[in-house]
């Protein structure tokens, strides 16, 4: 707020963040209690940043003893029903993009003099294992000192917790000791509850020093090579992340955009990232570089070994890149495919190696084939399922859905590289994720009569430090579900793993109900199924898209998830035209566009739970300022 008085009129007397993680499935509940101490009504804002990967499942406001609950509805129906709210465009939306990892849920409500309000938001997500650890991110930024501030995280991992680390980007040395951490074999507890004085940014200040991310990193034990299966309430989840495997050599073709739009920082950071990536390429690997603008330039005619001399020569080539011309993505990608095809034909690649293409581009195709659908089709036909394609898109003005579809159709992923001082690190970080493949053509097999409604169970690659998760419904004898097998190709030939776990081990696993929420297997299955169906909508045929959409929608409604297909309708207790608002789930493509100046300010001043007064009366302002 720009009104200092409002900060004192509105008091946040409690802000509680409560997270429970059961086998990577996290449920976070943010509860905030506020009182309006003014003798006039005030508009109170509740701003929460939640991870992009999370689905909102519940929202409620309790005002003057009455509870107002958000209702999840099909997006189209919600919009039609609440046309009035939608007609206000962006302002009707409660969820907005907020930086790289988060999105922001904001709701405001008018509170009468001396009245209280309680907000509660719940969201769920499956934590993703990345480079050997899971990360739970909680963004906290209260606008003012909070009487009762508390973060509580309970983690329950039946496999056993290998390590658990908690830190806050805002935590100074004085506050470090306030982070309490308890870890037993399978349970972890983290709490952070600074007093009013410990929150103060200066002795007389009402502003809080709590401003940033509270991050919990942990990993689990991987004792069973075939992974860990958990069965509860008729649903099972299989976690597979084998360790101690020899890495597979890889053959990678880097396809680098050097068109005019890359001029300046983008090409500089691309070069910086490529130099770091080249320095990390394993000597067993093969690689090549293709740069493109209006035309396509091959650094070498074929893919070559990553010897020290070749790496040095590649660095020199990267250093020589400069931005010029138009953007010919089509020919560049077809050239990369052809280079890998030729190497396969000539048998110049290491046995049991895997091949991949990494595209880095910032722009729309403007030269050669410019029809995006045709480029996607050409690339898909050219690759023919042989190599995954990873697409890194540079900047906000990128057509993300174009590269996303291309990546998903070819067993890869797309990633937006945010234009910032650390863009080079983002590119390098992505490469690190795929730098160490351990397995290829992985297939997880379950007894045909024992399980149903399986999520994806075939995977092109498994990378060191990541994790494969498969979930499904148990239809037969529960014990049958444990009889699973994994078939894959490793560095030393075909790999065959069978679950060795003894049945009696399972009985002990879930004996402590206070640490888990019982339906987590089912909700995790639903979450994963919806995520995968949504991905298939990007790349499938029209008929597949329709079927996948219908199924994803059905599950979203059944499990009360706010997904890109549903909206949460929030009705405010005000008899005004704008009293109904919609909380939508944004897709990466929808969240394009850099933060505007005004938005950036809101982000910078918006707390985890932010309350401020917005004046409806705009008084005349007499001023003097610069020209």
């Amino acid at each position: 707020s720009s009104d200092p008085q409002a900060v004192f009129d509105i008091e946040i007397y409690s802000l509680k963040v409560d997270c429970k993680v059961t086998s990577r499935f996290a449920r976070s509940v943010i509860t905030s209690r506020v009182v309006n101490r003014a003798n006039v009504s005030r508009e109170v804002f509740f701003d929460v940043d939640l991870p992009k990967t999370a689905f909102i499942t519940n929202f409620s406001m309790v005002i003057d003893g009455l509870t107002y609950v958000g209702v999840v509805k099909e997006k189209a129906a919600a919009k039609k029903q609440y046309q009035q709210a939608v007609s206000q465009g962006q302002t009707a939306g409660l969820v907005k993009a907020s930086g790289r990892k988060m999105e922001k849920f904001t709701v405001s409500v008018n509170i009468a003099a001396t009245k209280k309000v309680t907000f509660e938001l719940t969201y769920e997500e499956l934590l993703k294992r990345n480079q050997g650890q899971y990360e739970l991110l909680i963004r906290v930024k209260p606008k003012q000192i909070v009487q009762h501030f508390e973060i509580n995280v309970d983690i329950y991992e039946p496999q056993g917790i290998r390590f658990l680390d908690a830190h806050g980007t805002f935590v100074t040395n004085d506050l470090t000791q306030l982070i309490e951490k308890t870890v037993t074999e399978t349970k972890g507890h983290v709490s952070f509850s600074p007093t009013v004085d410990q929150q103060r940014s200066c002795p007389l200040c009402q502003t809080s020093t709590i401003d940033g991310d509270f991050v919990i990193n942990y990993d689990v034990n991987w004792d069973t090579p075939a992974g860990d299966i958990q069965i509860l309430n008729g649903y099972f989840v299989h976690y597979f992340a084998p360790t101690n495997l020899k890495r597979l050599p890889k053959n990678v073709v880097f396809v680098i955009d050097q068109s005019t739009s890359m001029m300046g920082t983008r090409i500089k950071q691309t070069k910086e990232a490529m130099l770091a990536i080249l320095a990390d390429i394993h000597p067993d690997d093969h690689f090549s570089i293709i740069s493109f603008d209006s035309t396509v330039t091959k650094w070498k005619p074929s893919i070559i070994e990553a010897t020290a001399e070749n790496i040095e020569a590649a660095k020199q080539y990267v250093n020589s890149l400069y931005a010029r011309g138009w953007t010919n993505i089509n020919d560049a990608l077809l050239e990369a495919i052809s280079m890998l095809d030729e190497a396969m034909k000539q048998h110049t690649l290491t046995e049991h190696s895997i091949s991949l293409i990494i595209l880095l581009s910032d722009g729309d195709p403007t030269k050669g084939e410019t029809n995006r659908a045709q480029i996607q089709s050409n690339v898909k036909n050219g690759i023919g399922g042989k190599y995954p394609l990873y697409c890194l898109g540079f900047g906000y003005d990128l057509d993300y859905s174009f590269i996303e579809k291309m990546a998903l159709e070819n067993h890869g992923v797309a990633r937006r590289i945010y234009e910032d001082s650390d863009s080079a690190l983002q590119m390098q970080g992505f490469y690190d994720e795929v730098a160490s493949p351990l397995l290829s053509q992985i297939e997880l097999k379950y007894p045909e009569n024992g399980v149903a409604d399986l999520t994806e169970r075939s995977f092109q690659q498994y990378y060191n430090g990541s994790e494969i998760v498969v979930a499904g419904r148990v239809t037969g004898n529960e014990l049958d579900a444990y009889n699973m097998e994994v078939i894959a190709k490793g560095a030393e030939g075909d790999l065959f793993l069978k679950n060795q776990r003894k049945e009696q081990d399972q009985e002990k696993t879930f004996e402590d109900p206070q640490y888990i929420f019982g339906e987590y297997t089912e909700r995790l299955w639903a979450y994963l199924t919806i995520q995968q169906l949504l991905s298939k909508r990007v790349s499938g045929t029209p008929e597949e898209k329709a079927n996948n959409t219908a199924r994803a929608l059905e599950l979203s409604l059944k499990y009360n998830f706010v997904t890109p297909l549903t909206s949460m309708v929030v009705t405010k207790p005000e008899d005004t035209l704008d009293s109904t608002m919609l909380a939508d789930k944004l897709t990466e493509a929808e969240s394009r566009g850099p933060p505007q100046d005004g938005q950036a300010h809101r982000v910078s001043s918006s707390p985890q739970s932010n309350y401020h007064y917005a004046s409806r009366y705009i008084p005349p302002v007499t001023s003097v300022d610069g020209d």
């Binding site: 200092p4 900060v7 502003t207 003097v624 300022d625 020209d627």
Partner: protein
Amino acid sequence: PHFIIPVPKQNDTICFNVDERPGVIFNLVRDPLTGITVNGQTIGDKKIDPNKKLNTYFGRFGIVNEKLGLKLEVTTRSIEITSGKEKMAFTWSDTVSMKQRSFALQINKERNLVVMMGDSVQFVIVLHRVWKDHPFHQDYLGFYTIDSHRLSSKTHGLLGQFYHDLSFEVGEIHQGTDPEKPDAMMMIKGQELTVTRGWQRDYREDIKHGVQVPCWFVHHNGTGLIDGVHSDYIVSGIF
């Protein structure tokens, strides 16, 4: 600096510039009843572009509330508050909310400072950051008064004299030297002035681009609009 004077009764705005040498201190607000005084000191550009006129801005403000024993000195580098015997200093990189008995203050990091005196007027000082290696320009400040009607009718000063009733008439609109900015005649305070339709910028919401405020521009340092001439408001110290 450019002055923007809204006239809400007429749903219109008057504006004028004051050009004076750097270092001069102007009395902007003086209310003998509430004991509130605001003075501002001008700064110039780092060096003068020989092809352009000398630009001045406000680079330092002093706000005094005699009744509360409060002094506030704001520059482009620091914010110093003296309350009785207590003294506090902040920089623009701080985010601060503070409330004492009859005084509230909020520093919004690198953006603005809002100060409220009891239930009275609210002042907003906006920080304009300029690229530090800019050959000519340097950081400067803007000053905005909200709810100015809460100060007494005795309030005066270069800005303060406009906090209460003001009325004018505009007629004979005709083409001026700039085809996009018509000139007109303005009747105000019993005088007839030639004014030009233009606009100035309010930077409270959008600090980079500002919001354009259409206004009638009074030439020659506001002569005819202000009581006396602008040099009458020059004072010797910031407090």
